[in-house]
C-alpha cells in the first residue's frame, strides 16, 4: 500500500539524529568552517555516542550499504538499513555536512568495505576508519581511466600513482585505493585495495583549501612503491570482463542515495532558517492560496520547497528499492541529480532572499550555500548522473552515448 511517510520504526532514530545534530554539529559548524584542517575533536564523543546507538544512521560507514536486507519473505515490503541510513544522514547534514563527512569510522571507504569485502576482510577492518581514493589529477568522472597501477609481487601488490580529493584521507586509519592491474585491459582490471595509512611510500602531498565542507579534510596522496598485502584486495583478484568494474561501481549505486540524502539535509536546513527569517519579515507561507497571489518571497519559498520535496522523496525511493532488492541504479541517479542541483539552487536563493543576513557569516545560510555545491559534484557530477539516466532511459551503451 502506497505510503511515503517516515516508517514508524525509524521515527526514534530520526529524532535521535536530529538531537545529535542540534547538540554536536550545529554548535561547531562555524568553528570548523573557519578552522579548516583542524580536527573536530568533538566528533570523537559523538562517534562514540553513535556507536552506542547502533542504528544511528550517521554515515555510510559501519552499517554498510549492502543490497537486499537479507531475510525478507516473498512479497513482503521492508524498510531497512538503506532507508535508516538515508534518514539519519539527512538529519545529520541538517546539522553540518562537513562534520558528518569527518565522522570517524564513517568514511566512504567503510562503505566500500561493507559493500564488497569478504568475511575475513570485514573482521580485519571492523572499527577502522577507511577513506576512499579514486580521483587522480587527470581522471575525474572518468574513473575507468585511472592510472594508478597495482603490480603483483608475491604475496603483495605494489601500488604506484597519485590520488586526489580523498575525503578524511589524512585522518583515517586506512584508504581504499582504486588501481588497475593492467591498463590495457580497461575497466575490468580496476580493483580496490585497502592501504593502511602508515604503509611506507604512502605519502600525503597536501590538504586542499575548499569552497565548502571545510570541516572535512580533503587529502592529496602520492603512492611510491606502496606494498600492500594481497589479502587487502577487495573482491575478486581475477580480471573478469563482465564483472570487474561493475562490482566496483556497485558501491556507487548504494552511496549515491546517501549523497542525495546529504544534499536534502542541507536544503532542509536552509529552508527552515529562511522560513524563520521570512516570518520575522512578516512573510508567511500560505499553502492554500495560489503562489502567484502571495508575496514573491513566499512564492519563491513554495517553489524551493517543492524541489526539496521531490529530492527528498526520490532519495527515499532509491533507498527503499535497495532495501527491497530492486535494481535502483536509475533511481539512485534520479535522486543524486535532483538533490544535487536543487540543493545548490535552493541554498543560493535562500541567501538572496535573506539579504545581508543570508550573505554574512553571522548566520549559516552562506555556509550552506558553499557546502551545497559539492553535492552536485562528488560521487558523480550532475552531468555523470544525466549520462547514467539517459543511457538507461534511452537504452544506450556508454559507447553510443558518450
Amino acid at each position: 500500500m502506497i505510503n511515503l511517510e517516515v516508517p514508524k520504526k525509524y521515527r526514534t532514530l530520526v529524532d535521535q539524529a536530529r538531537q545529535a545534530a542540534v547538540a554536536f554539529l550545529r554548535p561547531n559548524s562555524r568553528k570548523y568552517d573557519q578552522a579548516e584542517h583542524t580536527y573536530p575533536k568533538e566528533l570523537d564523543t559523538l562517534a562514540a555516542l553513535l556507536d552506542g546507538l547502533s542504528a544511528s544512521g550517521g554515515g555510510a560507514g559501519t552499517g554498510g550499504v549492502r543490497r537486499s536486507a537479507g531475510k525478507r519473505k516473498k512479497g513482503e515490503v521492508v524498510n531497512g538499513s538503506n532507508m535508516s541510513l538515508a534518514l539519519g544522514t539527512m538529519e545529520m547534514c541538517w546539522g553540518d555536512a562537513g562534520l558528518l563527512l569527518s565522522m570517524p569510522r564513517q568514511g566512504l571507504g567503510n562503505a566500500a568495505i561493507a559493500s564488497v569485502a569478504d568475511e575475513d576482510q570485514l573482521a580485519r577492518y571492523k572499527g577502522k576508519w577507511a577513506a576512499m581514493a579514486i580521483t587522480e589529477p587527470d581522471t575525474g568522472s572518468d574513473s575507468g581511466a585511472i592510472r594508478t597501477t597495482a603490480v603483483r609481487d608475491g604475496d603483495f601488490y605494489v601500488l604506484n600513482g597519485e590520488k586526489i580529493f580523498v575525503t578524511s584521507g589524512e585522518r583515517a586509519d586506512c584508504v581504499v585505493v582504486w588501481a588497475t592491474l593492467d591498463r590495457a585491459k580497461g575497466k575490468a582490471a580496476i580493483k580496490s585495495f585497502v592501504v593502511d595509512r602508515d604503509t611506507p611510500g604512502f605519502e600525503l602531498v597536501r590538504l586542499e583549501h575548499k569552497l565548502g565542507i571545510r570541516a572535512s579534510d580533503t587529502a592529496h596522496f602520492r603512492l611510491d612503491n606502496v606494498r600492500v598485502p594481497a589479502s587487502n584486495l577487495l573482491g575478486s583478484p581475477e580480471i573478469l570482463p563482465d564483472k570487474g568494474f561493475a562490482g566496483v561501481m556497485q558501491t556507487f549505486d548504494n552511496t549515491r542515495p546517501l549523497v542525495a540524502a546529504m544534499a536534502v539535509g542541507i536544503a532542509k536546513a536552509a529552508l527552515e532558517e529562511t522560513r524563520r527569517l521570512l516570518a520575522e519579515a512578516d512573510i508567511e507561507i500560505d499553502y492554500d492560496r495560489p503562489a502567484n497571489s502571495q508575496p514573491a518571497a513566499a512564492a519563491a519559498f513554495i517553489e524551493m520547497e517543492a524541489d526539496y520535496e521531490s529530492a527528498y522523496l526520490l532519495t527515499l525511493q532509491a533507498a527503499w528499492m535497495a532495501d527491497n532488492g530492486k535494481p535502483n541504479s536509475l533511481q539512485a541517479s534520479y535522486a543524486k541529480a535532483k538533490a544535487g542541483r536543487s540543493t545548490t539552487s535552493i541554498t543560493l536563493r535562500c541567501v538572496e532572499l535573506c539579504g545581508s543576513i543570508g550573505y554574512a557569516e553571522h548566520d549559516l545560510l552562506e555556509k550552506w550555500s558553499r557546502d551545497a555545491k559539492i553535492m552536485d559534484i562528488f560521487e558523480g557530477t550532475q552531468q555523470i548522473q544525466q549520462l547514467i539516466i539517459a543511457r538507461r532511459l534511452l537504452g544506450k551503451t556508454s559507447a553510443e552515448l558518450k
Binding site: 505510503n3 492560496r289 513554495i302 520535496e309 526520490l314 539516466i389
Partner: protein, 447 residues
C-alpha cells in the same frame, strides 16, 4: 525614446492607436472575412468555436429524484496505515490501473487528435470509461460503487493512467467523478440519495465541478460568484470558467461566495432557470469541451448547499482538485517521455540517432528525473489524503512542482522533435497546450 521608464513598463498603459493604426484596422476588417471565406477556412472555424454556444443553451434535462432511503450519509473510512514506507500500489489498484492504461493507450490516444479538433469527446469513449468504473472507484459499496475506503490514491492512479492516453479526454472522462466524489465526501443523506444513484448506473450524467472564474490571478478563496440567502434557499450569480463538458452538463457543483460565510459549494442542476453554458474553447483541454457556466439569478433550494458552507470542506475540495491536476500532469508527462524516447532514438542526424548527443539525451534525462519526482510528491499528498491526514502542504508542493516541471516537460517534448514537434502530425504540440493548464486550473477534477 529608448527603453521604458520605470513608471511605465510593459502593459502599464493601453496601446494608443495612431492614424496609420486606425487605417490598418479598417483594412483588416474589410479584408479579413472575405479572405477567410474564399479559403474555406472561416466556416469550420465558426462551427467549432461558436457552434457549442448555441447548443449550450439546450442543456440536458434529467430529473434527479431521491431513491431509496438513507438515515445518514455514507462516508468512506480512511485508508489504513501500514507504518511502512511503500511505493507498491495494492493488488486492486494495480488491476484497475492496468485496465485503465490499456483503455487509454488503445482508445483514448487514437481518438485524441480528432477530439481536440472537434472540442468534444466521443460519447462511446465516455461510456466505456464509465463501464470501466472510473466513477465507481470513489463511491462506497453501500451506494452501489466499489470503494471500501477513501479512494484518493486510487483516483490519482486512475487519473494518471487516463492522462497517459490523453489529458483532454481524461478530463472529459473524469469530470462526472469530481461531482460523485464530492457527494461521497460531503453530501448529506438526501443529497447522496438524490444524485448518487445516477452516477453508479449505466448512464452516468455529464457533471462537473466549477470553481474557476475568468480573471487574472484567480484565487479560489476569493470568489466573485456570489450566493445570497433567500427565504427558501439561495440565489447564485456569477460566471464560471473552463468547466469541462459544460454544454452537456446535467449537474454542477458550483463554488460561490456565500454572503458572510466565505466560499461554499452548491449543487446546481442544469435545468434550473438562469443556468446557461457558453463554449469557451482554450489552447488545450479541448477534448473536454470546456465552457463557461453562466449563473444569472439562479434560485436553488436550501438543500443545494453542499458541505454546509464549512471552510474546511471548501479548502479540502480545492486541494483535492489540485491533486487531480497533479495526477493528470504526471500521466501526460509519462506520455511525453515515452514518445520522445522513441523519437530521438529513431531520428537520425549527422549519421547517428540524435539521442547519441548529450544536448538531446540530457533533456530526456531531466524529463525522467523531474517526472519521477512529480509522481512521488503527488503520491505522498494522495496517500495522506486517503488516510484522512493533513495534506495541505504536500498538495501545494505537488501543484507547484507539477505546474512548473510539467510545463517544462511539455515544452521540451516539442523541442526534442524540432520542427516536427510543432506540427500536428505528432501529439507533442497537444501535450504542450494541455500541460499549460496544470498551473492555473482550479476545480474541474476532484480525486
Amino acid at each position: 525614446m529608448v527603453g521604458l521608464s520605470t513608471s511605465e513598463g510593459l502593459g502599464a498603459e493601453p496601446h494608443k492607436r495612431t492614424a496609420i493604426g486606425s487605417a490598418m484596422s479598417v483594412l483588416n476588417r474589410l479584408a479579413g472575412a472575405p479572405l477567410l471565406t474564399r479559403l474555406g477556412i472561416k466556416e469550420p472555424v465558426d462551427r467549432v468555436v461558436y457552434g457549442a454556444t448555441k447548443a449550450g443553451f439546450t442543456l440536458a434535462n434529467r430529473t434527479f429524484r431521491a431513491t431509496g432511503s438513507q438515515t445518514k450519509p455514507q462516508r468512506l473510512p480512511s485508508a489504513g496505515d501500514s507504518g511502512v514506507f511503500d511505493l507498491n500500489p495494492t493488488e486492486d489498484q494495480q488491476l484497475i490501473v492496468e485496465t485503465v492504461r490499456e483503455f487509454a493507450a488503445g482508445e483514448l490516444r487514437p481518438a485524441a487528435s480528432a477530439a481536440d479538433d472537434k472540442c468534444s469527446a466521443p460519447p462511446e469513449l465516455l461510456s466505456t470509461a464509465t463501464s470501466l468504473g472510473v466513477t465507481l472507484v470513489g463511491v462506497p459499496e453501500s451506494l452501489g460503487g466499489v470503494a471500501t475506503d477513501r479512494s484518493t490514491m486510487t483516483n490519482v492512479l486512475v487519473a494518471s493512467a487516463l492522462a497517459e492516453g490523453d489529458l483532454g479526454l481524461a478530463l472529459a472522462c473524469l469530470a462526472p467523478a469530481a461531482v460523485s466524489n464530492a457527494l461521497v465526501l460531503w453530501g448529506d443523506e438526501d443529497q447522496q440519495a438524490t444524485y448518487l444513484p445516477a452516477f453508479v448506473g449505466d448512464d452516468v450524467p455529464a457533471a462537473a465541478l466549477a470553481i474557476q472564474e475568468p480573471r487574472a490571478v484567480f484565487d479560489p478563496f476569493s470568489l466573485r460568484t456570489k450566493a445570497y440567502r433567500t427565504a427558501g434557499g439561495f440565489v447564485l450569480d456569477g460566471v464560471k470558467s473552463l468547466v469541462p463538458r459544460a454544454a452537456a452538463g446535467e449537474l454542477f457543483v458550483v463554488a460561490a461566495d456565500l454572503e458572510g460565510r466565505g466560499p461554499a459549494l452548491f449543487l446546481v442542476e442544469s435545468s434550473t432557470a438562469g443556468v446557461s453554458a457558453e463554449a469557451e474553447p482554450a489552447m488545450g483541454l479541448r477534448a473536454a469541451g470546456t465552457g463557461r457556466l453562466v449563473l444569472s439569478k439562479v434560485t436553488v433550494a436550501s438543500t443545494a448547499l453542499l458541505g454546509g458552507a464549512d471552510a474546511g470542506v471548501y479548502a479540502e475540495c480545492v486541494r483535492l482538485a489540485r491533486l487531480g491536476w497533479c495526477a493528470l500532469a504526471v500521466g501526460t508527462g509519462q506520455a511525453v517521455l515515452s514518445y520522445v524516447t522513441g523519437y530521438v532514438n529513431d531520428r537520425v542526424a549527422f549519421g547517428e540517432p540524435v539521442s547519441h548527443r548529450q544536448g538531446v539525451a540530457f533533456k530526456v534525462a531531466d524529463i525522467g528525473t523531474e517526472l519521477d519526482g512529480m509522481r512521488l510528491v503527488t503520491w505522498r499528498a494522495a496517500a495522506l489524503a486517503a488516510r484522512g491526514l493533513p495534506f495541505a502542504r504536500e498538495v501545494a508542493l505537488a501543484r507547484k512542482l507539477c505546474a512548473d516541471k510539467g510545463m517544462a516537460i511539455g515544452s521540451d517534448g516539442v523541442q526534442l522533435l524540432g520542427g516536427h514537434g510543432f506540427v500536428k502530425e505528432h501529439p507533442v504540440e497537444r501535450w504542450y497546450r494541455d500541460l499549460r493548464a496544470v498551473g492555473l486550473m482550479e476545480g474541474a477534477v476532484l480525486v
